[in-house]
């Protein structure tokens, strides 16, 4: 975090950034409500719940391909963590093309609501059943 703060200062763009620090509880949703786009640029992420929180809040998301959640989401823009041009491109696209950002927000919200633990549990159960019967 400190390295990023220093970098924004070096580039003289620190007035364009807010480093909020760790957010929890209602602060997360307050932040999402005033956001136009949420980005999870993880180098490596086993799953990543935060994009789902953003999608539930109706915020278009950009996620790293190197995350578990990217395997199950359709209504998200996916980029490789190292491809900063693609990341900038995706942010530009969401801000420039309101039709796309509205569709990402609308479809993303529906998609996140349709993700249920009982569906995942069912699939795991089916895998066990087929392994037992094999």
């Amino acid at each position: 975090m400190n390295k990023m703060i220093k970098r924004t200062a070096q580039l003289k763009i620190s007035d364009k950034f807010h480093f909020t620090g760790f957010l929890k509880g209602d602060d997360v949703y307050k932040m999402l409500r005033i956001s136009n786009v949420y980005i999870m640029p993880s180098v490596s992420e086993p799953f990543g719940i935060s994009p789902l929180e953003a999608m539930q809040a109706g915020v278009p998301v950009i996620i790293s391909n190197q995350s578990g959640v990217s395997e199950i989401l359709s209504n998200a823009i996916k980029i490789n963590f190292w491809d900063v041009d693609a990341m900038a491109e995706a942010i530009y696209g969401i801000l420039k093309y309101p039709t796309m950002s509205k569709m990402l927000a609308r479809c993303g919200k529906i998609e996140s609501h349709n993700l249920k633990w009982k569906d995942s549990a069912y699939k795991v159960k089916q895998v066990y059943k087929s392994a037992i019967s094999a």
Partner: protein, 413 residues
């Protein structure tokens, strides 16, 4: 004598390169030449050349009793000229047999008929000119992009002097009607409509290699037996497919080429069907009644609507913004801009933005260069933005010495 009309569409889009917003105003070349060449070379090797050779051999073997029809999109022709001119030569050999008919379509395999009839007519004229130049015969029968049809589309094509159109209409519109007859267009009764026989066409195009299909494996004797079960009063079977099923979508090891090789013999020996070109079908059969199709319908989707291309907000937005530029295009004579205008209209760009699952057996899906529909939309819109900027600048500079600049309505994407 009953007729089988075998029609294949050959199409490759000129795919866009990755065009970032950083590139806006810096690059006026939009195409991924590397990918387009690689893909075209692959499909040429796997499909176009071996399939053309097989069809030529079958025409010779059956002494003129095996006939087919093709339509080749202008974008495919442009790329054949660049990367695989031998494919055009092989189509010329087929044209010289007299057993092959080439149909007209829109040059850029576009949906222009839905938005701008003048643009549509220009594209069809351009395509027909190209086909006549390449193969020596001007097309008299038309196949719209993805066989989209409506009464109005048929009437526009009829006005251009064509005799007939190939179409695909869903069963919920046909209702009790069979596709195995010719029909009259509802606005111009002298204009004939061919309807694709969906089940029999898709048995080959989509289901051929699907081992879960109840009727797999498909052999030509089996297929001929199905043809024999068609009621005798139904005189025409229209089998309309993408050519790329041979060797590309249905791979070589599925046996699709062996099926094609044995199909003419099976049909000619075991059924009362003859292979006829669409023009021959029009000469030999009469339309049975008038077909009413009030709104445009298409293939490639079980719902048989335009949802694969126009079903979501991204596609509709991109389509609207593209054709908003047509007023300015009409004021532009720059050849580079006009070529880009053609290539940007290709239907595939919108197909890549689809959020529907690609239907089984869809050829477009296998060659989709994008990660997903949002990426496809962003890339297309970035290109369109740059194109719009160039177009605006050209029209402004052309007219600025004549008019007050504020009088010109500049289209913004």
């Amino acid at each position: 004598m009953r007729s089988i009309c075998l029609y294949f569409n050959i199409h490759q889009p000129v795919r866009l390169k990755k065009f970032r917003f950083f590139d806006l105003g810096r690059s006026d070349y939009y195409y991924d030449d590397y990918s387009n060449e690689i893909i075209l070379s692959k499909v040429t090797k796997n499909c176009y050349l071996p399939a053309n050779k097989m069809i030529l051999d079958l025409i010779i073997q059956h002494q003129g009793r095996f006939k087919v029809a093709f339509s080749i999109s202008g974008t495919a022709i442009d790329q054949f000229k660049l990367y695989a001119p031998e494919v055009i030569e092989s189509f010329r050999e087929l044209a010289d047999t007299g057993c092959v008919e080439f149909l007209a379509e829109t040059y850029s395999h576009s949906f222009s008929v839905l938005k701008d009839k003048t643009e549509f007519k220009k594209q069809v004229e351009s395509h027909a000119n190209t086909i006549e130049t390449l193969f020596g015969i001007r097309p008299t029968i038309f196949a719209n992009t993805e066989l989209i049809y409506s009464d109005e589309i048929g009437a526009v094509v009829a006005d251009m002097g064509y005799k007939a159109i190939l179409a695909e209409v869903s069963s919920h519109i046909l209702k009790w009607r069979s596709p195995n007859y010719l029909y009259r267009n509802a606005i111009n009764p002298a204009f004939t409509v061919f309807l694709k026989n969906n089940p029999l066409s898709d048995d080959i195009a989509s289901r051929f290699s699907n081992s879960d299909w109840s009727r797999w494996p498909l052999t030509s004797p089996k297929y001929a037996s199905w043809l024999n079960k068609i009621p005798k009063e139904e005189k025409i079977i229209n089998l309309f497919m993408n050519y790329e099923i041979f060797g590309e979508h249905q791979k070589l090891d599925t046996g699709i080429f062996e099926f094609l090789e044995s199909l003419p013999s099976a049909v000619l020996r075991k059924t009362d069907f003859e292979f006829r070109t669409p023009s021959e079908v029009v000469e030999n059969h009469q339309p049975i009644s008038t077909l009413h199709v009030n709104y445009p319908v298409s293939q490639a989707d079980k719902t048989m609507e335009l949802t694969p291309w126009m079903g979501n907000d991204l596609q509709k937005e991109a389509f609207e913004k593209l054709y908003k530029l047509n007023k300015l295009i009409n004021q532009c004579t720059d050849q580079g801009i006009l070529k880009d205008w053609q290539y940007l209209q290709t239907s595939d760009h919108f197909y890549y933005m689809s959020t529907k699952s690609f239907p089984q057996g869809d050829v477009h899906a296998s060659l989709n260069p994008y990660e997903g529909p949002y990426e496809a939309f962003m890339n297309f819109m970035n290109v369109l933005n740059d194109f719009s900027i160039r177009l605006n600048q050209l029209v402004k500079s052309k007219y600025s010495h004549q008019f007050n600049i504020n009088e010109i309505e500049l289209a913004e994407v």
